[in-house]
Symmetry: C2
Subunit: 369 residues, 2 copies
């Protein structure tokens, strides 16, 4: 196998694929990238048995072929080379030469036969989404995915497509995140599939923040994401996802308007004395025109306040500070609506206009003050 | 004790002192900062039995007093508070209240009696150095300090003052770094003292990059650095420092002019295949108008070249890549002079003009290629 290509194109391709490379594996080939030189382009593939990432780039191919190179060392070498043309030669005895200008590396490749077979996924019934919309759909839900493997279906995000509306939902037993957007659904079909949270985090790293359109092709066991000239194939999670429509309260006793930044800063300050290990809850007392936020831990006491729209009755409610912060951080508006009923009912954050997102956080029982 | 002060002044003072706070200690007070409120200012002190850092700042003191607060939690709280006036009250029962606007923290202080006595150091016989000069004197030598405790004297930098010339030297058995500068020596005396490398790294973090003047007051067992309104007192190391004048070869067989950036990039690329653990040396062959740099490790081979001024005879020499890189990184000039004699004699880097620095690196024996 022999080809030449531009350093930046190769570097970019490795950077996209490397997220799906196993960092430590007993199978050497899994720590590697499959390099396949075809007619006029080269394909890099990475696969960790959960996610496959495949990327094509332009190259001048002198001798086609397929080999596996250790991803880490390959990436390190390419990054350090000057922004110039790189020549890669891999002999049948696996001797590999990477050359650019006066620089030359000789390393050893692995046989492509040792690389696992990539999952196949049909490219029918696709839906098109703009990259920045896909980014926000994932980014604003994936944080709420469960890390508890006892209910595997909730370690992923539900993608639900009904006509031209996509709803992405994540839930972990203590909170729920939901995002909705209008999309182009060329297939005319409705779908429902659950993508592992880990894959979605990989996709976030690849997704450019632009108005270009990417596509998702859900299949039976896998889904294929086509983003620019990168293909991500992920296995889908199986099981019964929470009936989120029934889980979200349709109304609350009070609906307050809150300033997201103010309340985030107050919670952050109070959270300072909370240890990662003990997870003391924060106590919030909503009344009149402010929320009084406090916390008591082994370190001491912290107290803060933030303004709210008028709250006619006093509502005292405890939260896990991380969960309420994650929800507030996902809000893209300066002010949002916070629905509260009492100290044992979930808090529900919605936009003041429209219904693009819903963040629900369950309360934590407070000890008597 | 009760005082109010500006948040930024307090934050800045804690930031300076925190480097001398023990991060884990069986003595609670050592993880703390001593806060002493006097007439019109407050003093923060940190001391880890090696280095003491003392900083004054303006405050409105209502009740003087001295207490110890945990440095980490104190710093975290102050940083998160808004840029406003902070009020700190510590009661005799150690109840501490930190207030700013609507935010309030209640934590527990420790008695000042538990804080170790700060070392004393006379402020006579000082030398004055501009901050940016002191920074370069330390920054460009401290990297070569030994981390081998069997020869404690070499775990510090030698400061040698002769009339109006200061020479700072570090040596670790494999390399040597030397920097010289003209200074103002008001005392008229000559001195020699060795400051621990760890303290110098703390001083680097505090030293502003400006033309203001700081002072060093060496005493018998300690030295006092006065930088802006921060005082650093360090213990001095005892023992016989290497006679560096005898260690540095006065001349070499060839003196090449090298481009620092070019040769650094070549060494960096070749170093990619060197593992931290095995420390294979790089092989350099200087001849004619280039240096050919190569390395063979378990991962493979790397080869690179960089231009040099004419080298009439072939000199093959092995280096620990880190040591030669550290020396090149410390060079502030684009081109420097590299003195070489043969494969077993030290390489000596000097400026092409003047004698402000000398970096010497001992060669590593190479296996036959």
């Amino acid at each position: 196998m022999k080809f030449t290509c531009e350093k930046l194109q190769l570097q970019d391709a490795i950077a996209s694929c490397i997220h799906a490379v196993s960092s430590k594996s007993t199978i050497t080939a899994l720590e590697g990238l499959l390099i396949s030189a075809g007619e006029q382009h080269v394909t890099l593939s990475a696969y960790n048995f959960k996610t496959a990432i495949i990327k094509h780039f332009d190259a001048t191919v002198y001798t086609p072929g397929s080999f596996v190179l250790n991803a880490r060392i390959f990436y390190d070498i390419v990054r350090k080379l000057p922004d110039d043309i790189i020549e890669i030669t891999i002999e049948d005895n696996f001797t590999t030469t990477i050359k650019s200008g006066v620089s030359e590396y000789n390393i050893i490749a692995t046989s492509a036969d040792e690389f696992p077979e990539l999952p196949s996924c049909s490219k029918r019934n696709g839906i098109s989404i703009k990259n920045n919309v896909m980014k926000s759909l994932i980014d604003q839900t994936v944080f709420a995915v469960s890390d508890n493997e006892t209910k595997p279906i909730h370690t992923g995000c539900l993608f639900e497509v009904k006509e031209n509306l996509i709803t992405v939902v994540a839930v972990d037993g203590y909170r729920l995140a939901l995002r909705k957007e209008e999309i182009e659904n060329e297939s005319g079909n409705d779908f429902k599939f659950v993508v592992p949270g880990d894959t979605l985090k990989d996709i976030l790293r690849i997704l450019p923040e632009n108005e270009e359109t990417s596509a998702i092709y859900p299949d039976k066991k896998h889904a294929l994401f086509e983003i620019d000239n990168t293909v991500v194939i992920t296995r889908l999670l199986e099981g019964e996802f929470l009936d989120y429509n029934r889980a979200i309260p349709q109304s609350s006793a009070v609906n307050l308007t809150i300033d997201v930044r103010n309340i985030k800063e107050s919670i952050e300050r109070v959270s300072l004395i909370i240890s990662e290990r003990l997870k003391n809850p924060i106590r919030c007392i909503f009344f009149d025109s402010s929320v009084k936020i406090s916390c008591i831990t082994a370190l001491g006491k912290a107290y803060d306040e933030a303004p709210i729209s008028f709250c006619p009755e006093q509502i005292e409610i405890g939260f896990n500070n991380k969960y309420i912060m994650d929800a507030l951080k996902a809000c893209t508006d300066e002010t949002v609506s916070l629905g509260l009923t009492d100290g044992v009912s979930p808090a529900v954050i919605r936009p003041t206009e429209g219904d693009k997102y819903v963040y629900m956080v369950l309360p934590v029982r407070l000890k008597q003050a």
